[in-house]
């Protein structure tokens, strides 16, 4: 199922997509509530590729916050609800690397029931669904700006998401891709870590923000808006960084030329 490639990142085996098969959208709670435009962009992108979409309205959360805090019994209730809601769908696409990793990798640790893990194994982050399953790297988008990308830890280290978003960005017309120095360093969000160890979390975020400034980009993007919520929150407090816009990759990929 997964082995470690020569670049040190995991390489997953992906299923093929049967044309016409429904894809269910898993929209993390914070995107649903605070960044709906990301979910809208995700829906538009997939719709344009001819994919029939479903948004199961009973969905709530993947359980990650409770799981990471050690409250596994509590997390399990939420995870089992997730499994119940998404059971009917062969493909579940999510615009978040960290939530997708929770489903595909950590459901197994949190819940001994193999039926739950089986549903979790069908969750794919948006860029890996586009590139590894649909084989699409050019969406015909146009975004004439200097863009740098932050690579979220869970998505990269657990799911191997790195080349996919970069190749998608590089195919966006008129987009100037700026390398982010120390791209692999954690931004310091870490979920509840951000408020349990705020001093260190903020220090890490400031390092990430300084690197974003160094990249020379006007826009910073990622497959994880949770990281950008934290780093963006820091950048907004610094006058020299306020010109840098924060956008989820779906929003950039959804632009038209």
């Amino acid at each position: 199922m997964v082995r470690i490639g020569e670049n040190g990142l995991p390489q997953w085996d992906y299923p093929t997509y049967d044309r016409g098969e429904k894809v269910a959208l898993f929209i993390p709670c914070y995107i649903d509530q605070f960044y709906p435009q990301i979910a809208e962009a995700t829906a538009e992108i997939l719709h344009r590729l001819g994919i029939p979409l479903v948004f199961p309205e009973e969905q709530t959360c993947c359980g990650q916050p409770a799981f990471n805090s050690g409250y596994w019994e509590e997390a399990r209730r939420v995870i089992r609800h997730f499994a119940k809601v998404f059971r009917p769908y062969r493909y579940i696409v999510c615009p978040s690397g960290s939530c997708s990793a929770m489903c595909r990798v950590f459901f197994g640790q949190a819940d001994p029931d193999p039926a739950t893990t089986e549903v979790g194994s069908r969750v794919f982050e948006l860029t890996e669904f586009l590139v590894n399953i649909l084989g699409v790297t050019d969406l015909g988008a146009r975004f004439p700006h200097k863009v740098t990308m932050h690579s979220g830890c869970h998505g990269r280290r657990e799911l191997g998401i790195f080349d996919q978003p970069i190749s998608l960005l590089k195919n966006v017309k008129d987009l100037v891709y700026c390398e982010l120095p120390n791209i692999e360093e954690c931004c310091g969000f870490g979920g509840t870590f951000s408020v349990k160890m705020p001093g260190t979390s903020i220090a890490m975020g400031e390092t990430k923000a300084a690197n974003i400034l160094r990249s020379g980009a006007d826009v910073v993007t990622s497959v994880d808006i949770s990281c950008l919520m934290h780093v963006g929150g820091i950048m907004r407090r610094k006058p020299e960084m306020r010109h840098i816009r924060v956008m989820h990759i779906a929003e950039i990929l959804n632009t038209r030329g």
Binding site: Q33, C61, K196
Partner: protein, 476 residues
């Protein structure tokens, strides 16, 4: 459950231990340490990635260690038998206290007055130097970094480079104060001073204490790696050599050693091989060689099937260098012998969750540690596993209040209506936050350095309810 004396674990700046310090450990570590750890990490990672067999190597080492830990009893018996056949005197110690007792007996038997010591993490668990000092035996650390922190009366801050928090001027001042040497901050001169003082100690020491990197069960040999030559001198100059060996250090066979040597040097210091690799076969004629096999809580790790991989550790320090938290808070914040990610997953077993239960929370779960570990310890998975144990047992993080909150949260996330209700309140709360005169608790923890996200007028759900229909059919 082996107990550790409380005075052994109360350390200056042990931010993660205090129950009342609700996770507000601040990034107060030495900047030099952080920068140096980062440089090492990048450099060593580059080296590793340039080797086409690196992932194969890690997997092979992992499997060997897995076998070793799963057959630890048989291997220890075999190791003891072969060590004894080579003239070693093998002693067993359930805990640090007993190991120290053995040491004191040896000191008495051989009329030992001075001891020279090379690097051994298990000896730090035992607090050997204090124990020997209490019976009037002078025990001198010979590894330069350990020598410096010993002179300064401090704890080491890193497994491989213990004195990285000291600048050259700090060392110069230390030598001036403690050794009566004229002040200098030139590295060559400082090293010369240390060499001169320590050389005299090697020549007159009655006993040498070492650790052990690998115990070879099938040949009854031990392997020690080092760069300075201090281990070689410590064990070959004095008439008595005592090797302190944690029971998890045993590997089944000398056949496997090249694999570990290739991984350890690169992960620890970015070298192909360390300057000295010693493979020691028993006591040389005329000399006495003791081996003390030490448990001190390692068997506790075995009791937890999900935690056993923590015993695979070969003490390379790569996880420390890679950890963004360690780089910022430094080694002392972890409160005991082992800092960084390995400390977070080992210390709770060795010292008890009641004292160290908070350590697994000192992490953003970024996974950098697991990525670089040469024996593929699944550190990130261990961290969340230990968090789960910590909140369910007597520990500084067990909190009925927090349990209640997560219960309420899981209720709220248990169904769509409850979810929408709860999130509605959250949105209102975030909107109102800017009107509050101050931000308490978690809210304040966020806003002390970051703006809160803006609250949009609608949610995705409401958008989908209005526009979602057209997405259900594939586009034309």
């Amino acid at each position: 459950m082996t107990a550790v004396h409380s005075q052994q674990v109360s350390l200056r700046g042990a931010a993660f231990w205090k129950a009342e310090n609700k996770g507000l450990a601040e990034p107060h570590g030495s900047k030099a340490l952080g920068e140096s750890a980062e440089r090492s990490s990048k450099h060593n990672r580059q080296i590793a990635m340039a080797i086409p067999y690196w992932e194969e190597w890690r997997e092979a080492a992992h499997q060997i260690k897995r076998y070793a830990i799963f057959h630890l009893d048989d291997l220890l018996v075999q190791f003891e038998k072969n060590l004894t056949a080579r003239g070693c005197i093998v002693l067993w110690a359930k805990d640090a206290e007993e190991a120290n007792q053995h040491l004191l007996n040896i000191v008495k038997k051989h009329n030992v007055k001075t001891v020279v010591k090379s690097k051994s993490m298990v000896s730090e668990e035992m607090e050997v130097n204090h124990v020997l000092a209490s019976v009037g035996v002078k025990a001198l650390e010979t590894d330069l970094g350990e020598y410096l922190v010993q002179l300064a009366g401090q704890r080491p801050t890193h497994i491989v480079t213990p004195a990285l928090h000291l600048s050259a001027s700090d060392v110069g001042r230390l030598f001036a104060e403690k050794l009566g040497e004229p002040f200098t901050s030139e590295h060559e001169k400082l090293t010369d001073i240390a060499r001169r003082h320590l050389r005299e100690e090697y020549l007159r020491a009655d006993m040498g204490i070492s650790g052990c990197n690998f115990g070879l069960a099938d040949t009854g040999a031990i392997c020690i790696v080092e760069n300075e030559g201090n281990a070689g001198l410590s064990i070959s100059a004095p008439p008595v050599h005592v090797a302190l060996i944690g029971i998890e250090k045993v590997i089944p066979s000398i056949d496997y050693l090249p694999q570990f040597l290739n991984l350890l040097a690169r992960s620890g210091t970015g070298q192909k091989l360390t300057t000295y690799t010693h493979i020691i076969h028993g006591a040389t004629p005329g000399r006495t060689f003791y081996v003390i096999l030490i448990d001190n809580g390692r068997t506790n790790v075995l009791k937890d099937p999900a935690a056993r991989t923590a015993l695979f550790c070969i003490r390379c320090g790569a996880c420390l260098n890679a950890c963004p938290v360690y780089r910022r808070v430094g080694g002392w914040a972890y409160g005991w012998v082992y800092p960084g990610p390995i400390g977070s997953i080992l210390t709770p077993h060795l010292v008890g969750f009641d004292q160290a239960g908070k350590l697994p929370f000192a992490s953003s779960l970024c996974g950098a540690c697991g990525e670089v570990c040469p024996v593929k310890i699944d550190i990130p998975h261990q961290l969340v596993h230990l968090r789960h144990r910590a909140v369910n047992t007597k520990s500084p993080v067990r909190s009925p209040l927090e349990r209640l909150i997560w219960n309420a949260w899981s209720w709220a996330m248990g169904g769509p209506l409850r979810y929408r209700l709860t999130m509605g309140f959250v949105r209102i709360g975030v909107r109102l936050a800017k009107f509050l005169p101050f931000h308490p608790a978690q809210l304040g923890a966020w806003t002390r350095g970051r703006d809160l996200p803006l609250v949009p007028p609608t949610t995705f759900r409401s958008w989908w309810r209005r526009y979602g229909k057209r997405f259900q059919q594939p586009s034309g």
